[in-house]
Symmetry: C2
Subunit: 236 residues, 2 copies
């Protein structure tokens, strides 16, 4: 499969990456077409996985009672976590809209099954966490595919995984990795909500790139790329 | 940014997802253009992150001595892990080519800094692991962007993170998440190597999708999508 990419195809990938947003509002009531949903789930299923173990499951959730219980868990956790931040940031934090559990037409829980194709999985013995890392790659595929289909996705991480496991009847050994809300949206924000709200700034690329060792900023053999990285534009 | 995607742009994303491979061989000596490298690093930097914390760093590695030490760690770990698998699978495991540390022109270590913008990060209090999950999303962006640029990427997880931290001089609190090898390739394999070798099969999408709760296969309100998922083609 020595597929080369046309400029427009390549642009499609970068556009998905730069215009993807963590969506918490602007969900519309338009249902997600089943063919579109199948495509984005299949994109998630084609993520890389350690030793080709494909250790993910996708639980599709529409049931109102289930979602209401999960929303209650969000409310409790949000309140709990607010004790870790001082005023005036605390009030700002509590004013943000941080989930679309009941506003979106579909919720999906993406889980990790450490027993999949085990006990021996190639590449998992030295760093067992690579199993869960594979599931995260699947979430990112899901997110990007949803974006190209005009579907917004929001990852809700203010939740109790203990409650989530109980509500969704997960076996003890299965770990919930991501709880995401999906739906058509009236708009995708031009920038991340927390950047627009000036909660945190976008870091510059040059601040997160090192050369050869931790915190090494450059040396003669890296000068050219260092200049390019310094000049790198923020694509929002 | 209410960007709609043309069919070709959308196809570009799916093509990247379905033709992405974990590359361990077929690296060529052609160096990676600095502008291309900047683009794919910028794609990684635009991953989602919990509370917009952007907790990643990218250490670019070309130094031969560094890579040789890391290759030695791979050899030790590969031998260690082979004790967990019985013959005849053990010999097959040891015969696979599983890394391109010295064959590829560039190695990148992607790390997680739990202290970034902390201690309070929105969305990280209930499930602190979401910090490391963000870094995995960045790795997947890097991988897909590399694929569209014709650059192969292989994730080496048969390594000692203790040694890696020492070799790259990471501070105690920083966690190496991914060690990847990048380079132009003579070809991208049509399917994952471990699928071609019949080590493990690709699961069908229907086997990893549940409805409403764990292991619930369907009910009347999910019949339509269930049929589509069952009929879903393997895109390889």
């Amino acid at each position: 499969m020595n597929v080369d990419f046309s400029d427009e195809e390549k642009n499609g990938l970068y556009k998905a990456i730069f215009s993807r947003r963590d969506v918490r509002s602007h969900f519309t009531s338009k249902p997600i077409d089943d063919e579109i949903l199948t495509r984005i789930l299949n994109a998630a299923h084609h993520a890389p996985s350690v030793g080709f173990s494909q250790p993910w499951n996708f639980i599709l959730i529409k049931d109102y009672e289930t979602r209401k219980k999960i929303k209650e868990s969000f409310e409790i956790e949000r309140k709990c976590s607010s004790q870790f931040v001082e005023e005036p940031q605390k009030s700002r934090y509590l004013s943000f809209k941080l989930e679309g559990i009941l506003d979106s037409p579909l919720n999906v829980c993406v889980t990790y099954d450490p027993s999949r194709f085990g006990p021996f999985v190639i590449g998992k013995s030295s760093i067992p966490e690579t199993g869960i890392y594979s599931v995260c790659c699947a979430v990112q595929n899901l997110w990007l595919a949803a974006r190209t289909e005009g579907i917004g996705l929001g990852w809700v991480s203010i939740l109790s995984n203990v409650l989530l496991k109980k509500i969704l009847e997960l076996p003890d050994h299965v770990i919930p990795v991501a709880y995401v809300c999906l739906g058509h949206v009236s708009e995708f924000a031009p920038r991340p909500d927390l950047e627009t709200a000036k909660w945190l700034p976008r870091l510059e690329l040059k601040d997160v790139v090192f050369y050869e060792k931790w915190e090494k900023k450059q040396n003669s053999s890296w000068n050219n790329i260092h200049e390019l990285i310094k000049a790198n534009l923020d694509y929002a």
